[in-house]
């Protein structure tokens, strides 16, 4: 059955149904609803910008972008963004999408917390960051009409989202604090743990093995 929310079609394909099922099984309502909104906001903004998207790739990028925050797909050895990116790449390759397509989704997820860069890359890369910036940071909310906003939030509500998403970040990263160096994610650890010592680039430069 074709699903349409805020005039955005959720692609009606086997790959998309499997992606939904995978995320539904791994994520709580917070991350599932957030990821669906990321797809919807990102698709709406991409349409308004005239960007031509592969909807399956946009969907997998949006739905898998926070899988690194889940117990099933999160690791302790690398940035959480890479966890989702690697999961998405394998998922797409196993289902017959090309290496080039898988690479776009990998970048979309790996770079969704990297400022500016995704917006300069392919539409399927930019779409995830457009959605994330809308849902997490409220950027350019005026580009979403009140009717679109109401439709998306009716399908995927965001109760106490700000506090809950910050806690989810903290829970998934507090056991791999080193992976937050040089990213915005160390702000979250610093917020929740007064004893967290942010690794500082200036100190790293000054203390490294080179004498001068």
């Amino acid at each position: 059955m074709q699903e349409i929310i805020a005039d955005i079609e959720v692609p009606d394909t086997s790959l998309v149904r499997k992606a939904t099922a995978l995320v539904r099984a791994a994520a709580d309502d917070l991350l599932f609803d957030h990821s669906r909104r990321v797809f919807l906001w990102g698709s709406l903004k991409s349409r308004k910008r005239g960007l031509d998207l592969d909807p399956e790739l946009a969907y997998v990028g949006a739905m898998f972008h926070d899988l690194g925050l889940t117990a099933t797909y999160g690791t302790r050895t690398r940035r959480f963004e890479i966890d989702g990116a690697e999961t998405a790449r394998s998922f797409l390759l196993e289902r017959g999408r090309s290496a080039a397509d898988a690479e776009k989704v990998w970048l979309a997820i790996a770079l969704h917390t990297t400022p500016e860069v995704p917006h300069a890359l392919a539409p399927e890369v930019a779409v995830v960051t457009l959605g994330v910036e809308t849902d997490v940071l409220g950027l350019e909310l005026d580009q979403i009409t009140p009717a679109e906003r109401a439709a998306v939030l009716a399908a995927h509500p965001r109760p106490d989202f700000k506090n809950r998403i910050l806690r989810a970040f903290n829970d998934a990263m507090k056991d791999r604090p080193g992976t937050t160096f040089g990213t915005m994610n160390d702000d979250v650890l610093a917020h929740f743990d007064p004893d967290f010592a942010r690794t500082d680039f200036v100190d790293v430069i000054r203390a490294n093995a080179w004498p001068e």
């Binding site: 940071l137 979250v188 093995a209």
Partner: protein
């Protein structure tokens, strides 16, 4: 006749000559020598790790990677990494390279300060980052023979590198401090620029246009 330094052949083509000229004209001696070392160290580390980057693309990426620190080259207020990436893409396209090659170099430069990501990408992108990590942070220094390191540094001396390098960030970001948010560059501004306010992702989330 080609030049070989520390066993690394330095490619001599129209594009590498253009990149050398651009770096000499638009950056400082300190950044030029750093950029040459990034190419040499990046090539050496790539060989150790079994990567085979295209030498010409790696050279252009290395020589251009910090050109975004020098203003005014772009009226666009954007991250210096993206500015440098744009310069390199334009240089390659003017020298007859296709968009695929230009895109590789663009990513190598745009992502050279993004932890944990470029090392998982293609050989030119990874090698650029390995060169930067070695010369700026000393990562991988122990894996090279001392004689090799000595030859690189004798050819392109470090001078008072740590101090001059940090100052280059301060100077290069003076007219665009907001672009440092969420990157390692914010650490440099926080240390050296009086009154600089490091933004926090937590504040951005809690203070966003969303109610909750």
């Amino acid at each position: 006749m080609s030049t070989t330094i520390a066993g690394v052949e330095v490619p001599e083509t129209a594009a590498t000559a253009a990149a050398t000229a651009f770096a000499l004209e638009h950056t400082s001696q300190l950044i030029y020598d750093h950029s040459r070392r990034v190419f040499l160290f990046g090539s050496l580390r790539a060989a150790q790790l079994g990567l085979r980057p295209d030498p010409e693309l790696l050279y252009v990426a290395s020589l251009m990677h910090d050109t975004g620190l020098f203003t005014p080259y772009s009226r666009e207020i954007q991250r210096f990494e993206v500015d440098g990436a744009d310069h390199a893409r334009a240089l390659l396209l003017q020298n007859g390279f296709d968009t695929t090659a230009a895109d590789v170099v663009w990513k190598a430069i745009a992502l050279h300060t993004s932890p944990g990501i470029p090392s998982r990408m293609g050989p030119e992108i990874a090698a650029t980052t390995y060169g930067v990590l070695l010369d700026a942070l000393g990562i991988g220094l122990d894996d090279l023979d001392a004689a090799v390191v000595d030859e690189v540094v004798a050819t392109h001396p470090r001078g008072d590198f740590k101090k001059g390098f940090l100052q280059a960030f301060v100077d290069g970001l003076a007219d665009r401090p907001d672009t440092a948010y969420g990157t390692i560059n914010a650490d440099v501004l926080a240390r050296f620029v009086p009154g600089y306010q490091r933004g926090s992702m937590v504040d951005r989330v809690l203070g966003s246009a969303w109610v909750a």
